[in-house]
């Protein structure tokens, strides 16, 4: 790669992301200047610089909490994937499962899952299990619902064409139904990933002695607002990282869909 083409690539990236970056930077500057100019009390709204210095003083505590919360997110999310995709398969392919299990899932989806968190404490105590279960519960539904939609999405004409080839059910699944379902499965996975971080923090709010949710409540109680902000930022970063990890897997698994997406976006621009 020549120097010029690398510069061109960076320029192209900047053109795409530059606007968002600039607005983000501007927000921080406005925040910093605004807080200093108006003299708002630090416990109400600390300037970004204070958030940073306070965070740096106690970054080891926050890192410890982040590690706990990350484990809860990853374990619960992994469990949700492992349970919901096979279940979606069963519901998509078995009439009995569709008639018996699917309505129950649709109904349970309406229940505000966060309201169940206190129950989990009664049942499973203050440890890792109730957090894992709440993360599982929140990310489970979007994954299972969109996976079912994905597995059922096969176009009638595609399947009619496939039937004229005499191919068996397994071959049809591997060559047509599964790839066809992947875009929707990934949509569910991304929604689930976004919910996983929320679920972990809520579970920690309800009862825990470690993790970012616990720290957040502690700092809040002490009116240590800079640290509240710092914790929220770290939490967001964890959520973003999980989300982008899924997106990277998506790019590897279904590049055809991603590029289709992007070329459609280019076309509208």
């Amino acid at each position: 790669m020549t120097h010029a083409s690398r510069a061109a690539a960076i320029l192209a990236w900047l053109r795409r992301r530059g606007g968002a970056l600039a607005i983000f930077a501007l927000l921080i500057v406005v925040w910093e200047v605004g807080v200093r100019a108006t003299g708002i009390k630090e416990y109400l709204l600390p300037p970004p610089s204070t958030v940073w210095t306070e965070f740096w003083k106690r970054h080891e505590i926050v890192a410890g909490g982040a590690w706990v919360t990350t484990q809860e997110i990853l374990a619960g999310y992994a469990l949700a994937i492992v349970v919901s995709i096979p279940l979606a398969l069963a519901i998509a392919y078995s009439r009995f499962m569709e008639q018996a299990v699917y309505p129950v899932i649709v109904f349970l989806q309406i229940v505000p899952k966060i309201a169940i968190a206190p129950l989990f404490i009664i049942w499973f105590g203050f440890g890792f299990t109730p957090k894992l279960l709440l993360v599982f519960l929140l990310s489970f539904f979007p994954i299972v619902v969109s996976s079912i939609a994905g597995f059922k999405s096969a176009d009638r004409d595609v399947m009619d064409f496939a039937r004229t080839t005499g191919a068996g059910a397994l071959k049809l699944f591997l060559k047509i139904r599964l790839p066809q379902a992947l875009p929707q499965i990934f949509t569910g996975l991304k929604v689930g990933a976004a919910l996983a971080a929320t679920a972990a923090v809520v579970a920690e709010f309800v009862a825990s002695d470690k993790g970012l949710g616990y720290l957040l409540l502690q700092y809040n109680g002490q009116l240590d607002t800079p640290m509240v902000f710092a914790t929220i930022v770290i939490l967001s970063l964890i959520g973003v990282m999980v989300y982008y990890a899924v997106e990277i897997v998506e790019r590897i698994a279904i590049p055809w869909h991603v590029s289709q997406h992007e070329s459609a976006q280019d076309a509208t621009m």
Partner: protein, 287 residues
Amino acid sequence: MTLRVARDGAGAGAAPASAGAGEPEYVALAGVTKTYRRDGRETHALDAIDLSIRAGEFLAIVGPSGCGKSTLLRIVAGLHLGTSGETRVAGRIVDRPQTDLGIVFQSPVLLAWRTAIDNVLVQVELRGHDPRAYRDRAQKLLEQVGLGDFADRFPHELSGGMRQRVAIARALIHDAPLLLMDEPFGALDALTREQMRLDLEALWLATRKTVLFITHSIDEAVLLADRVVVMSPRPGRVERVFTPGLPRPRGLEARRAREFVDTTEAITDIFLARGVLHGAGRAGGAT
């Protein structure tokens, strides 16, 4: 196959829907009906269809939307079964999805995750053959349908007409004797449609497959087919059969031929009489 000449001097002649004696019938429908039952109500989609297609013949069915012509194609493919009557392909009764055929639908139904050539090859993969053995043939077919340089493109990088060309190549790769086409050009713009019509005829002249071509375009049916079966509105019946004896290849000039004009007018009149078309623009009884 020799060129068929119309029987009467006027051009378009009526012919029986079944092939003449002595010629091998590749597809034969005898008294095929189809009735759907939904919410306790019965819908007669097809009413006692007698129809046969000779080996190597290009047969078009033209009819209004909902006349059951697509159902008829699916019955020949074994994707639907008739309510009564008998369907035979190559002498065997059709009672399950047939595999010795190629099929093209109105939408190209390509697999979005496969390139053009891999979409052609999925036909042989699903049939349990090694796609590598068919790669050269697939490339040649893509060249034949004008997509030689697009083998590695994904469907979303192709135009509607190009996608349909891939679907046609996919229906030909395994060299089945029967080609079923269900309004294959229905979603294309008029110019692309005309080009596809010309190219399909050239392809058919080169391969001489038995073709069942469903369309709602009178022009297309007359320009492509050896015999044109006109179907009535629901319940679908064979209204009349025409044998446009236009010489092949029927290039763009065929549209100016007397035979073409007469036949399309005769078919239009049938649709006028049946209330499929109505309007003051045309006086009935042109022939």
